[in-house]
Symmetry: none
DNA sequence: CATGAATGAGGCTTCATTCAT
DNA sequence: AATGAATGAAGCCTCATTCAT
């Protein structure tokens, strides 16, 4: 059984090793320009080996999203569970969590938007697909709960919490995408951090209930 | 001379015909899964013909973005030139313009984010590339001017107008992307319009200067 | 009838115009990299027009060879007909003729060696093909006659005149090809003229009968 | 280690297998008409496999030339090193070497003339390109040395050894090309061997210093 | 006659995936 | 379990040739 366990752990470690490599390569080149060969080389494995751990390229890709979503969910639920802080403090914590999620893997947003191409998802196993949907739903749900508390307390404007959560998430991902894009096109300085701060600042002011 | 002109018009019509087909196919399948063959078939032309009007697949793709950006610029500049309305009214007009831009071609945002992959743009002619950059810069610039007026009048919070413009644009594109994505994943109802309204509402409240 | 004639002449002039363009383009890019579009542009005509004068690309190409071969034959026969000069003087005249032929169109040799690819000749009309063969045979035949006279007079070594003609022709074409090749590879100075002189010098000495 | 070695040898054998097929197909159809598909089929491999061993079509093609040039250099240097023979004997050995080179691969000359089209070489890796240049230069250099010895000994006419070497090489390649061409056009008997003999005979007589 | 837009076959090349070792 | 050579299906693009005007 010890052996069994060690095997399990080794297998998991190998999976991680591949995912680390995949993240690097996908970040560098994007999903389509990245080749399995690239990833294998970065992971110091052979292409064939990748298929022992992931059904295909898309599944490997989706696994990365999954990991991010897992991290996102953990952070969001952690915020939700802060017992000694009100909705406004929780919103602040949420913003902080988003920063961390972004830094955990800047690829996240881009990943998640590739998911929108239904064509891209055709080869995903139903199981993985439903895990992704599930995580995504849960995270948004938790965020919505935070907003609901604020609305119920009369601190936030009286709008549907899910819509608020969507807007919050859209704002975050929109800023990340746009500023990344802008940086590349203009080869200019990176104002991501400042703009995110401004964006959340506006958002906070925008949803706070008038006195 | 009449002949000359008619030929010109026919040529332009053919270009449009191709772009319409390309838009459909790219929207359906995304840039990478869409094949030139697909587009040719949709346009009821032969693959070779596409290359008489567009240098390559990427240039065809970029041309779509260009058209949208042109429309965006026109609308934004129109808002800027409204002489008999203050910054707040202009912001409202701007929001309306964004709706229209989105409806003019929902593909716009997705297009613009593919542009961020510098790898994708390698085959673009420098001319087309600079046109895109130029339009993009001009539109954002005009939006920024609107915010500047509001800031100068003390109506909007005192933040850098460019940053406000970026945030505005990011919010818009983020909502469009996220809700589109959500719709596909959840195969659910389309809340885009409502969410956009909410988002802009929050934004307006968020940037309005406190009394 | 005058009209008829003028039409004929105009047609011939157009043919020439195309051939001039073709020569330029084929020389620049080689047979395969040259496109009919290239040639049409150089001739300031439309691609379709080329096909009114030449059955296809290969036939156009072959026509160039034909013209050179015609010029070659004229020059060689002219030498043959010099009544007041012996075989040695004729050989000198022949060498001079080869210079002229080369200068008339440096492309000639390369043209003629493309002809060796039987695959290339598949699309030639039998008529054109036989014209080429005929001219080629006649020229070599005339050259051979010159050598025969020298052999008969005991001035040249006693070898089969056709073989001598082949060698002479091979030497000429070999030098042209090799030095052209060398110039490109080494991007160096062009020693073609000097080498041709040396080559013919050696040839003359090599075939002159020992006293 | 044995395994390592065997793999190496298998890989080399596969390379050879491809080159043999390529030689056959290129000889049959010429560079342009030969397709990678053709070669793959001849080698009983899939098209993709060719690219595991050669970067592209041109590189595969150039590799064939390289092999011949290597053989040429070996043979020429071997002649140069004959210690117990004078320049005249060495010239004879050289002629013999040329025969052998030709028989080793009749394709050689045609290959080398395709190399002259600089356009054709655009896709060659610089390394391969420089190897070709190098071998070509070395071979000619060695041939020139042989002639230099003869000139210095007063056995050959006093001309620049490099020019003599160029002429020698041009004569050889010219005869091969022309007689091959002639054979195809006339579908006649193959006089290559006899003509080469005559050509070298004339050359020998032509460069031998007068008493 | 001339045009030039349109065709469409076909080439080169890439790369996700498989499978014998 | 790991390898990595081999596969072969596509994809993009070119260009000789045709044909309606």
């Amino acid at each position: 059984m010890g052996i069994q366990e060690r095997k399990e752990r080794e297998k998991e470690r190998r999976r991680q090793q591949i995912m680390v490599a995949a993240k690097r390569v996908f970040s560098d080149k994007g999903f389509n320009k990245a080749t399995m060969e690239d990833i294998a080389q970065d992971a110091e494995l052979s292409p064939g080996t990748l298929y022992l751990y992931f059904k295909n390229k898309e599944e490997l890709y989706a696994s990365l999203s999954l990991r991010i979503l897992q991290y996102l969910l953990i952070r969001v639920e952690h915020v939700l569970e802060e017992t000694d802080s009100g909705p406004e403090e929780k919103l602040n914590s949420l913003v902080e969590a988003m920063y961390d999620v972004y830094e955990f893997d800047p690829l996240i947003i881009i990943n998640m938007f590739h998911l929108q191409s239904s064509e891209t998802l055709k080869n995903l196993s139903p199981q993985l697909m439903s895990e992704i949907k599930d995580l995504s739903r849960k995270s948004l749900g938790s965020i919505a709960k935070i907003f609901k508390a604020g609305v119920d307390d009369g601190l936030f404007i009286d709008r549907h919490p899910t819509a608020l959560a969507d807007t919050f998430w859209a704002l975050f991902s929109g800023v990340v995408l746009w500023l990344t894009s802008k940086k590349i096109i203009n080869e200019g300085k990176d104002y991501l951090k400042e703009t995110l701060e401004l964006a959340f600042d506006i958002f906070r002011r925008g949803i706070s209930s008038p006195p």
